[in-house]
Amino acid sequence: MTVRLIVDPDVCIGSGECVAEDPDAIELDDTGCARVLIAQLEEDRAGRICDACPVGALSIER
């Protein structure tokens, strides 16, 4: 099953932990905010990226 990864830009502090976890799936934009690169991700993979965020700026939409 695939899911969507959602970034809350008000919460993201640009620590880069999500990009370190999976640079193919997510990047940092010019303002240092996370931006999802792949629209649909395997749930496990999305979950690992979510867990890497130290501030809970990422969530999963089923």
């Binding site: 502090i13 640009g14 880069g16 990009v19 370190a20 940092l28 303002t31």
Partner: protein
Amino acid sequence: MQGPVAVVGNGVAGFACASRLADNGVDVTMIGPGLPHDRPPLSKRALAMGRVPLLADEEKLAAKGIRHLDGRVVDADLERHRLTVAPTAASDPVELVPEAIVWATGLNYPLPPVAGIEIAHENATGAGMLELAAQLTEDGRRVVVIGAGLIGTETAATLAARHSVTLIDMLDRPLGRFQPRLSDAAVATLDGLGARFVGGAQITEVVGNGAGHVVRTSTHGDLPCDVVVSAAGFRTSLPATLAPDGRALTIDVDGALGIPGLTDVFACGDVIRFPHPRYGGIAIPHWDNALHSGRQAADGVLGTGEPYARDPYYFSDIGPLRIQQVGLAADAVEWADEDDLIIGRDEAGDITAVLFLNAPARLREARELLAAATRP
């Protein structure tokens, strides 16, 4: 421990600590002015939107079970665990006698000792950032930013998108205390953004009048402007009981982040110097250390967890330039470019710091390189 526990400070470290304690069912009171927020709130988005990046609002605090005492600790007897808090709302002081105390008040960012500097704004506190943003609603303002460390350089780069910015420092280059490659990159980035850098400058006074302000220097003449932003240095926030000479920025803590000589008093975030297994006593006044030491201090209170051994990591966005570094640059005696990573080695030839620019995907690899050298 069931508490009550008082966490003094409501920035990243204080909030991380209070959250972890509340998650473990501890009765916790977080003391600090206003809602918990990220400091310094210099992110481009925060300044561009004129909104303080809150870590939690009242609703989230209530849901987490964190009690928030909006005010400042004005007197602390740490041996007797007695705290006196002056509430932000004008009312009588409140006394607390918690079972444990966690000190997490971060750094203060005072104005430099320059005549007339009182008209300057700062971008290191929530209130300061809001006042600054209110001065910058119209495009094309002439802004002088004093101090080209990380906060000043980030602020200058952010403001350069919409305003005419001059960044001024007593050193010859922006980020002049950092690795030269960082300084080079900052020079190029500021140039690309159209921000002017004035280095080697001595400011004599700041003059304000109705038509605008003037930053006077003995080296570069007068710099007329509409807005002055001060980002020149920081000072301790520790009370006299923890920093008797009023100058030490940090307090030494043990591996559990406890303060030696006191019972059940801990500290975390920018105020600590902790015993890192490789680097010895280090202070890392950055976001990552605030978060992780905050959580660790909660573990210290709970009597759980391993000794704190987080490898240093910081990140910074100077406009479009993303800087990331793991490890400790101060220990590096030589630097080499290796596959787009800038690697610093210590006297023994071991990797002590890895710096990388505009390459966020390399963070994990950089950490692994450092860890391999640190814990062979």
